[in-house]
Amino acid sequence: MNDLQVNDYRYGFSKPENYVFKAKRGLNRSVVEQISSIKSEPGWMREFRLRALEIFEKKKMPKWGADLSTINFDDIFYYIKPTENQKKSWEDLPKDIRDTYDAIGIPEAERKFLAGVTAQYESEAVYHSFQKQWEDKGVIFCDMDTGLRKYPDIVKSYLGRSIPPADNKFAALNSAVWSGGSFIYVPPGISVDIPLQAYFRINAANMGQFERTLIIVDEGAYVHYVEGCTAPVYTTDSLHAAVVEIFVKKGARCRYTTIQNWSSNVYNLVTKRAFVEEDGIMEWVDGNIGSKITMKYPSCYLVGRGARGEILSLALANSGQHQDAGGKLMFLAPETSGEIISKSVSVNGGRTSYRGLVKAIKGAKGVKCNVRCDALILDEQSRSDTYPTMKVDEKDVTMGHEATVGRINAEQLFYLMSRGFSETEATSLIVNGFIEPIVKEIPFEYAVELNRLIQLNMEGSIG
C-alpha cells in the first residue's frame, strides 16, 4: 500500500479514441454553427449559442481567483460525438466504452441504486436508462440534448434564466458550445426518493467538456441528483466548464450532490446556481477532490419568502492542485435562511481557498444565515486561504461566521497509532473524521469511494 505514488490517479487509463465526429481544434463561429447543425437544433438555440460566443470573446479572463493563465482556448476540441445514437441497453454499447465503465464501476453503482443512470461518455449521453415508475409519474430525466429535442418549450423558457451567458466568461463559453448534461423535470407534488445520478467522463485528450444541466423541481416536489466525475490522465490540459441551472418552485426541495475527481490536469470551472422560490429548499453538496484548478461556488438565490439554501463544500488539494471553492447565498426575500459549511484539506503543497459571498438586500427582513469554514493543513508546504464577503443592506438579519484553520493534532495521531494504525492511516482517519459532517450527507456508495480517494491522497504524503 505504501508504494503507491502521490497523485497516482486510479482511473487514469485511456481508451483508444473511436469517434464518429470530432470538431476541429479551437473555437470560432463556424465551429459553433457546426455543433448546432449536427444536433439539428432549432434556430433560437443556434442564435443563443452565437450570441454567447460573442460575449465569450469580449469577456476578459477572471483574475480575482485561481491562476487561469495557462488555458489555451485554441488548443481545445469543443465537440466530439462518440456514437451515432443513444443506446438503450448495456449490451448495445461499444465494447471499449463498456470496459471503461466496468473499470470505474458504474454498472455496480447502477445495480445498487435502482434509479436510472445517465452516463455521459464525452459530449453525448450514450447510455441512458430510467426507471419506468418515474416516467409514469411524469418525471423527466434525460440528457440535455434529448431534453431540447423533446421538450423545447420548457428548455427555452428556463435555459440561461438563472445563469445568462453574460454572467461570466466560462458561462458564456458553455452557452456557446454546450453538449450533453442532464435535463430533469419533476412535476408538482412528486417526490423522487431514489437519487438520480449521472456519471460524467472526459476521454479525449485536449477535449473540453461543456455539459449543461437544467433541473426544474415543480411545486412541492423533491429530487436528489447525484453527479460524480472521473477522468483519465493526459499530457495536456483539459477544460471542464459546466453550467448547472436549478429552479426550485414553491415548497419544493432539491439536493444536488457532486463528487468531482477530475485528473490533476483538468481545469474545472463550473457555474452552479439555483433559484429558490417561497418555502423551497435547495441543498448543494459539493465535493472537490480532483482537477488541477477548480473554481466553483454553488449558489442559492433565495427569491421567495421563507426559502432556504444550504451549501456543503468539501475540498481536498494535493500537490499541484488549487481548489478555490465555497458558495454564494443571496437573500432576496424576507425570512429566508441559509447555511454554508466548508471543509478543506490541503496536503503536499496543495492549496485550498474558501471563497464565499453572503448578501442580503434591503427589505429581506428576518434573514438567518450561518457560515462555517474549517481548513486542515497537513504540512508546511500546503496552504489555505479564506475570502469571505458579506454584503448586508438590511438591519433585521442574523448572521454568523466561524472559521478555523488547523493542523493534525499530535495526541490524536499517537492515540490512533497506539491502536495499530500507521502514521498515514491515522492521518487518513483523522482527515475522514474532519470531513465527516459533509461525507455523511453523501450517498453511501459515493461516501465509500470518497473515503478511498482520501486514503489514496494521504498515502505517501507524510514523512
Binding site: 466496468d102 499517537f414 473524521g433
Partner: protein
C-alpha cells in the same frame, strides 16, 4: 514477555518520522521536565497481572507511554524487550501490532470517527482479523476490499461481538456510532478504553489509571470487565497502574510494584498493596531507606 532492565527516560524526543508533529507538540508540553525514569527493572511474564502503584509524578504514566512508544521520550536501557524483540526499534503502531495495548488515562477526542469504525479498522491492521480480499465481482472481475472498503457481512459479525462487550460494560449499542471519545463522560472514556481492549485482545495490556474518576459502580463494572478479559484471554498479561488499592478488591494481582521518583522501590505480592493503602507511600519508602519515620502525609 516484557523484560525491562535499567530503563532510563527523559524528555528530549526522538521522532518516529522526520516531519512528525507529535514530538514537537508533546515535548513543548512537558518542557522543563528532565529525567523521569531513573532505572526501571520490570519483568512481566505471560498470563501475569502486575500492579504498579505510586504517588502522582512518580513516573508511572511515563513508563506506560514509554512502553507504548510515545516518541517524545528519550529511552536508554540495558534491556527493553517484548517477546524477545527490542522494543526501542518499533513505532507505536508496530508495538500495537506486536500485541501491546495502552488504555489511556486521558483518551483524546477524535471527532467524526466512530467507535465502530476505529475498532473495525484496528482489528484489521492489528491482524485480529485477516482482511478479506475478494468481496464481490463485477462482470467477472473481482472487486477487492481495501482498508476502507465496506464489508457488510463481517461488519455485522463484528457488531455482534462488540454488543457482547458493550453489555458487560453496561453501554448501549449506539455507543458504537458515537465519535471516539467526543463528549464522553469520564466513565464512558474509561469504558471505551476497556471496550477497545476487549475487541483487540492484546497480549500485553497497560491500564493507565483506569480506575481514576470512576464512582463505585463504574469501578465495579470496569474491574469486572478486566477480570472477564483476563479469564477469556488467559495468555494475556496486564500491567495495571493505579494510585489506589480499591480496584484490587476485584482483581488479584500476581505482583505489586511500588514506584517513587522514577524507580521501582519495592516489589511484592498482593499483600504489598494493602500495606501501602494502610501506611502510605512515604512511610514505605522511609522504612525501605531506614529513615526515621516522621509524620509522613498519607497518600489516599
Amino acid at each position: 514477555m516484557l523484560r525491562i532492565s535499567n530503563l532510563r527516560s527523559s524528555v528530549e524526543g526522538s521522532s518516529f518520522t522526520k516531519a512528525s508533529a507529535v514530538t514537537k507538540v508533546l515535548a513543548d508540553r512537558s518542557e522543563g521536565r528532565k529525567e523521569i525514569l531513573k532505572g526501571i527493572d520490570l519483568q512481566v511474564k505471560r498470563s501475569e497481572i502486575h500492579v504498579l502503584m505510586g504517588p502522582n509524578g512518580s513516573g508511572k504514566s511515563t513508563l506506560a507511554q514509554v512502553i507504548a512508544g510515545v516518541p517524545l521520550f528519550k529511552v536508554q536501557s540495558s534491556k527493553f524487550k517484548f517477546m524477545e524483540k527490542d522494543l526501542g526499534k518499533f513505532t507505536p503502531d508496530k508495538r500495537a501490532k506486536m500485541g501491546i495495548f495502552l488504555a489511556f488515562q486521558h483518551p483524546v477526542e477524535i471527532p467524526g470517527v466512530s467507535v465502530f469504525n476505529v475498532l473495525r479498522k484496528a482489528k484489521v491492521v492489528t491482524g485480529n482479523k485477516k482482511p478479506r480480499t475478494r468481496i464481490s465481482s463485477v462482470r467477472g472481475k473481482p472487486v477487492y476490499s481495501g482498508l476502507v472498503a465496506p464489508d457488510l457481512g463481517r461488519a455485522k459479525e463484528l457488531r455482534q461481538e462488540l454488543v457482547g462487550y458493550l453489555s458487560s460494560l453496561k453501554l448501549s449499542e449506539d455507543f458504537l456510532s458515537r465519535s471516539l471519545n467526543e463528549g464522553f463522560s469520564g466513565g464512558e472514556k474509561k469504558r471505551s478504553e476497556i471496550l477497545q481492549m476487549m475487541a483487540l485482545r492484546p497480549k500485553l495490556v497497560i491500564l493507565d489509571e483506569i480506575d481514576s474518576g470512576l464512582d463505585v459502580d463504574g469501578l465495579k463494572i470496569v474491574a469486572q470487565a478486566i477480570k472477564k478479559f483476563a479469564t477469556e484471554n488467559p495468555k494475556s498479561s496486564i500491567l495495571l497502574i493505579t494510585h489506589y488499592a480499591r480496584i484490587l478488591k476485584y482483581l488479584k494481582p500476581d505482583f505489586v510494584h511500588i514506584m517513587m521518583d522514577g524507580k521501582i522501590i519495592k516489589s511484592g505480592k498482593a499483600s504489598l498493596a494493602q500495606k501501602i493503602e494502610k501506611e502510605g507511600y512515604e512511610r514505605t519508602r522511609n522504612v525501605l531507606e531506614q529513615r526515621p519515620i516522621k509524620d509522613a502525609p498519607r497518600s489516599n
